[in-house]
């Protein structure tokens, strides 16, 4: 949070000033080294790698003269971040080979020069201390060098620099110490201007040129650094991998059929040739016997399947190994593995323990970094904080600004000023908001801090600190200064070890089934794909809670696909294969292809986009579904080589892709037109290719996920209580907890209230019902509850409040929560909850007494209020029941939606989830899911309705909806015309609608006369 300019701006400005070389010296890091090399070359500059080392009172600029210098620089910086007793002077002295040291830290320079004067320079920077530095350099006869400690491109960016410092230091502008800021003239001055400062010491500028000429600038990070498994040679590693693969394949297939054998041999040959044996063995060792789910293209490998890294049979599902690895592919693919989310930290701990280096052995492992940058939301918040805006006001205005941003169809970083001005005028944002907005746009995209990638690790054969500087994260994990893309472009091979909540759901459900029903299901051999009841659940889209296929979009697509599919096709159709396609098809940019896919699946004849693509897309009815379709289409239509096609696919998912993509586009168009494909067709196909940018799957990945989806659906179909308890307990699903509770209730499951003698931390199945766990009570600490449960298991159930207190010594706050949640009702001995609370206060004060007050119990309304406060939803009643009124009762229930197709109706519902999207024209619209007492239903807010009502929508709130029922492929949705919020206090709808064509016949004025009133903060309809 010091430098203001982007790499692009810096390089452009330096090139414009006629510079030939440019050194980028991040403070204590090489955060942008790979990207800098790339950007500098694009601007015709020779990149010099270096860093500004700052530690305590010491400071030096270190430049890498050669490869050894680079490794040493990485070591110095790693020590700076990782060693508690780091001493800058000593560290540079130990790692000086190949490093040019420039410093105005005179004491340090003196120490270094005493050991050797080679590559030591005295730094002269314009300012009051320059004279002293010149004197020192002349006294010690050390060469001076001119620098300007550049922090920004233009002088006027100093204010932005101060703002960044204030953000970084959590301070206001008036409280940023001067010592924390650079000098106001630390900008990229042209040489002519800089020369004025060095008239009396002109050799300083000459030395700067000489240093630049002497530093290496042809940096190349293309060489792949493979890990090494237990110091085995390549041949030994391959032999071990082969042995393990054959053993695993025999276990999986019960023998080795010819096709399996052939596939194994062909894969092993490529793995050997590409030196991937070590990599597979390391991943195999990490996975062990754990419950996992392979991600990405590795699921196409039979070797992965045999080793147990993935769980989907690539032979049966026709997954191509070439998607993962080919002889011609230059960039190494990575293997991604999902573990149950709560086991992943243990897995990481084991890996770091194994490869982390012990004693004198260097560490070979670090996690991939995440270079967190300020997005617009974060930038607004941070700048507003510097300007002293209160948190509530920040939330409110940031929300309005971001929503408005979408309406104006701006890109993520629009040209701020004019837009900010118009927005401030439009929304009447008062000072200092216009200034905040302006500043926020200027800091968007700025590096904020180094975080951890969600699961990527890098293992190298020797010493990780010589490739990239390493830091220690807040979780005490070593982390690389590079993010995913730089790691890959830097030649390091990444292994993704990720957390997956649904794996934990399956694990917990299987355990509960074993304990409750005595049924043992083995995760590794269990095959739910052929179970008819499970298939039915999937065909119906009855998949709330099921991994990856529970979103409204996926459930609707499943319903569309299967509800109206002709019987003869339905008989033959493979549910699993379709699920694989559906998993890939539901992605933001593919919405326009979804209905076409359904139509073609139902046997409607179609013409392929171009005859050349007929073969490439035959499996998916001529529609591009999987990532590999990008490569296949590029090969078929534009004669790309498979390697080029693969590279095109890969750069679609990169952040810094524009330049490369431009080249590929030009090549794609040129070659396709050479094959006489019409420009309009090429354009259309290119757009389809672009729809894969950012978020898309390859087929092996989808197949792997579909298998886990099937397992979840099986559990939901056959063991609903165990499954739903596990879904709610593991949290983090697509829907909020209350929606899963409602879904379970619709499945006939009842929820039993929490109880000190019956509840666990998590939700637990109780016969066919579910017992609410302590986790649902907001404010309770897990560690303390674990102690309570241990005490209960050791010494039996609690007999009374006093007994509980004596055995667990709770704090008053925890005891109040438990009493209000009803956890003591079963052992209250006739005392009401308020009476128990009196006794809790007495116990907390160390007093007991039988004469304590015994007030009457809380009213039903108070108990419901406590439930909503503590659980987030009412437990003993359905939320919508609290809002009943004659108008709500007159609404059409969700279960009858199909009977009203084509009609305008009113429905009541609690908002469950929202999914915003764009029309072809770029207008915003939203798909919103609601539930009432009879079911869950989908609604569509087309742009008009969305613009009108978006500010009203809020998860978990009840609404009265007016609209027309639309039917499509046997599915029914409500096309919204009007929205009213329901209010419990008044028992009537609050006016939110001013629509002339309200389907219920009420005019706005009439509704107002019902007691309508404008809603609370931030929930008002937009102004006209």
């Amino acid at each position: 949070m010091r430098g203001v300019a982007s790499l692009e701006d810096l390089c452009r400005a330096a090139a414009a000033q006629g510079a030939k070389q440019l050194a980028l010296t991040d403070t204590n890091g090489l955060y942008g080294a790979v990207r800098f090399v790339e950007t500098a070359r694009q601007h015709g500059l020779e990149p010099i790698l270096g860093a500004e080392l700052v530690h305590g009172a010491h400071r030096a600029v270190c430049l890498a003269k050669d490869a050894e210098g680079y490794a040493n620089l990485c070591r110095i910086l790693s020590e700076r971040h990782c060693e508690k007793n780091f001493a800058a002077i000593d560290a540079i002295a130990r790692h000086r080979r190949g490093v040019i040291v420039i410093s105005d830290d005179l004491a340090a320079v003196k120490t270094w020069s005493e050991a050797s004067r080679e590559d030591i320079y005295v730094e002269l920077t314009p300012g009051p201390r320059m004279h002293e530095a010149v004197k020192f350099a002349r006294a010690l006869k050390l060469p001076p060098v001119a620098t300007n400690k550049v922090h920004f491109v233009k002088a006027e960016d100093y204010a932005l620099h101060r703002l960044l410092r204030a953000i970084d230091l959590n301070a206001t502008l008036s409280r940023v110490p001067e010592s924390e800021c650079c000098a106001p003239d630390a900008w990229l001055m042209p040489l002519a201007r800089l020369e004025r400062y060095y008239a009396h010491v002109s050799e300083a500028l000459a030395n700067a040129s000489a240093i630049a000429a002497g530093c290496r600038s042809d940096w190349d990070f293309k060489e792949t650094i493979f890990p090494a498994f237990r110091a085995l040679s390549d041949a030994e590693a391959f032999a071990l991998l082969k042995e393990k693969t054959y053993a695993g394949a025999r276990r999986r297939y019960g023998g080795l059929p010819d096709d399996v054998l052939e596939r194994i041999e062909s894969e092993l040959a490529i793995i050997r040739d590409k030196s991937f044996s070590h990599y597979f063995l390391i991943v195999d060792e990490i996975v062990g016997a754990r419950m996992t789910c392979g991600r990405g293209s590795a699921a196409a490998s039979i070797v992965s399947y045999a080793l147990g890294i993935t769980d989907v049979d690539p032979v049966r599902h026709r997954l191509q190994f070439e998607r993962f690895l080919t002889r011609t592919r230059n960039d190494p693919p990575d293997i991604d593995v999902d573990f149950p989310w709560d086991e992943r930290d243990d897995v990481l701990a084991w890996v770091f323990d194994t490869y982390g280096g012990k004693g004198a052995a260097p560490a070979k492992i670090a996690m991939v970094g995440n270079q967190n940058t300020l997005a617009l939301r974060g930038a607004l918040r941070e700048v507003a904080k510097v300007y002293g805006i209160a948190p509530g006001e920040i939330d409110q205005n940031a929300s309005v600004i971001l929503k408005r941003l979408n309406f104006l169809r701006m890109a993520e970083s629009p040209e701020g000023e004019s837009w900010a001005e118009s927005l401030c005028e439009l929304k009447e944002f008062a000072a200092p908001w216009p200034e905040i907005l302006d500043r926020a746009f200027r800091v968007v995209g700025h590096f904020r801090n180094l975080g951890l990638h969600c699961g990527g690790i890098v293992v190298v054969p020797d010493e990780i600190r010589k490739y990239v500087p390493v830091e220690i994260s807040a979780k005490k994990i070593p982390v690389l200064q590079w993010e995913k893309d730089q790691v890959e472009d830097g030649g390091l091979v990444k292994i993704d070890l990720l957390g997956n909540r649904s794996l934990a759901v399956v694990r917990d459900a299987l355990k509960a089934i074993r304990e409750n029903a005595g049924i043992e299901i083995d995760y590794h051999t269990w095959n739910p794909v052929d179970d008819e009841k499970t298939r039915d659940f999937i065909r119906r889209g009855d998949t709330i809670g099921c991994f990856y296929i529970e979103s409204p979009a996926t459930r609707l697509l499943l319903k569309k696909l299967w509800t109206t599919m002709p019987a003869h096709l339905k008989e033959k159709a493979d549910v699993f294969e379709y699920l694989v396609a559906v998993s890939s098809l539901v992605r933001p940019a593919s919405i326009t292809f979804v209905n076409e896919f359904v139509r073609r699946s139902h046997g409607v004849p179609y013409d392929p986009l171009h005859p050349l693509l007929e073969q490439a897309l035959a499996e998916t009815h001529g529609i591009m579904v999987y990532q590999e379709d990008v490569a296949n289409v590029a090969v078929a239509l534009a004669d790309f080589t498979p390697s080029e096609g693969e590279h095109l696919r890969k750069i679609l998912n990169k952040k810094h892709k524009q330049l490369q993509l431009k080249d590929y586009r030009e090549r794609f168009f040129r070659r396709a037109m050479e094959k006489e494909v019409a420009p309009a067709i090429v354009e259309r196909i290119w757009k389809m290719i672009m729809s894969f940018a950012g978020y898309s799957f390859c087929k092996p990945h989808s197949a792997s996920y579909a298998r886990l989806s099937f397992k979840c659906a099986y559990l939901k179909a056959h063991h609903p209580a165990e499954f739903m308890a596990a879904v709610i307990s593991n949290e983090g699903g697509f829907y909020p907890t209350f929606a899963y509770v409602s879904e379970a209730r619709r499945m006939g499951i009842e929820f039993l209230p929490p109880d000190v003698n019956a509840s666990a931390w998590a939700y637990t199945p109780a016969g066919k019902n579910i017992r609410v766990g302590f986790m649902q009570i907001k404010g309770l600490e897990r560690a303390w509850i674990d102690k309570v449960l241990a005490e209960r298991n050791a010494a039996g159930p609690f007999r009374s409040l006093n007994d509980f207190h004596a055995r667990t010594r709770p704090g008053l706050a925890a005891l109040r929560l438990l009493i209000k949640a009803g956890c003591f009702d079963s052992i209250a001995g006739g005392l009401t909850r308020p009476a128990l609370l009196w006794r809790a206060h007495a116990l907390a004060a160390g007093k007991e007494g039988d004469d304590l007050p015994a007030p009457r119990d809380f009213s039903e309304q108070q108990k419901l209020k406590h439930e909503i406060e503590l659980f987030g939803f009412p437990l003993r009643r359905r939320a919508l029941e609290l809002y009943r009124s004659p108008r709500v009762d007159a609404c059409v229930p969700a279960r009858d939606l199909a009977r009203h197709a084509g009609r305008s109706i009113a429905m009541a519902g609690i908002l469950v989830s929202e999914k915003m999207t764009q029309t072809k024209k770029g207008d915003l619209m939203e798909f919103v899911t609601f539930e009432d007492l009879t079911g869950i239903y989908e609604t569509t807010f087309f742009p008009g309705a969305y613009r009108k009502y978006y500010q009203l929508l809020e998860g978990g709130r009840p609404f009265l909806l007016h609209g027309r029922v639309e039917e499509e492929f046997g599915t029914f949705t409500l096309n919204i015309a009007g929205v009213e919020r329901l209010d419990m206090r008044r028992g009537a709808a609050i006016l939110e609608v001013d629509s002339p064509e309200r389907p219920d016949g009420f005019t706005a004025a009439q509704t107002r006369s019902l007691g309508g009133r404008l809603p609370a903060a931030g929930q008002n309809p937009p102004r006209a």
Binding site: S174, R175, G388, I389, A390, L837, H841, A845, R1013, L1014
Partner: protein, 393 residues
Amino acid sequence: MPRQIVCFQVPSLHIAVARASAPALCRRPVAVAPPTARAVLFEVSAEALAEGVCAGMPLDLARLRCPGLKIIAPQSEAVPAAHAAVLESLRYFSPIWEPIRPGHFYLDLTGTARLFGRAVDTAARMEKDVLERHHLSGVAGVATNKLVSHIAADAVVKPPDLCGVDPGAEKTFLAPQPVAALPSLHRLCGGKTPDFLEMLGELDLTTLGKVAATPPGHLELVVGPRSRLMQQWAAGFDPTPVWPAERRPSLEVSYTLAPDELDDAALLAALYGLLERLCRQLRARERLSAGVRLDVVQSDGVEFSGRAPLAAPSHWECDLYPVVEKLYFRLFHRRVRVRRVVLAAEKLAEQSRQFSLFPEQPPEENLKQQRLAAALDAVRARFGKNAVSWGSV
């Protein structure tokens, strides 16, 4: 003889003053907010309150909630004048009066029955007098102490009206009142009033009657050592006198920043202005302060308060300012703008008229500062408070 205390209030004084000169504002929702960016309401009329608008609410939100809301600027000149005018009317009835805030007073009518009649009748005369002479509707509570008279005045639904509580009937009057009606409740719970009220509600201690009826030992379990005080209040017992001006234990001045401010230099400048006002009042009353209290209220209503003693009692800015500045930096860490500052001189003592035989000579610089302050006092006394102000070159 039981005391007779009147709490006289002109509710929403800014609005009342505005309505007195502009009758069109009557019977419609009105709120007061400074004409600055991101303003919050600091006073609302009963009609606005009924529309869901309340004091402390951001102006934008208030407009959304109540589109017909009429916003008026603070009546910064008219309100002090009205306050003085009302006081002038009230002083006729008692020499012992204590201002609470603009338009709100306690008056001790003990012993005036033979002169003016019963206290409730006097209070009614006060209301009539203020209404007729100044066109301001007041409410009054009459009781045997300040606490009950305050709650009685608050209980009046619509001005002009009054509520009298007969001696001995305090407990009966307070019994159905909610605990939240206690004017100094925040003193019992360290400012966490909502949490405190919720906890009392859980224990069915919702009214002052229930609190009064709870055995002291039981209440102590919940409220702690302050249970005794709370129970006294709930029973209607409050021995504090109506302080005449010269005996008040503290003196405070406040300043509302419009717009709210964050910059240290601007805030310290505002604070110095307050300090000058405070010191001027101390000097005018020939009193010395031995300690200062600073309250900082931020834009979102979060409030910080701190106290600091002075090395020696003083009424000079040069002695108080270093303490105030230190207190400011100690209190103000949170990155949220400041809306209001309150500065109080505490532990007041009368200036001794006896000179010391061996006086300690203050440093020359302090003497200069003191002479300058005295000169400024003289200029302002003659030409008005804004006649001279500080600047820098």
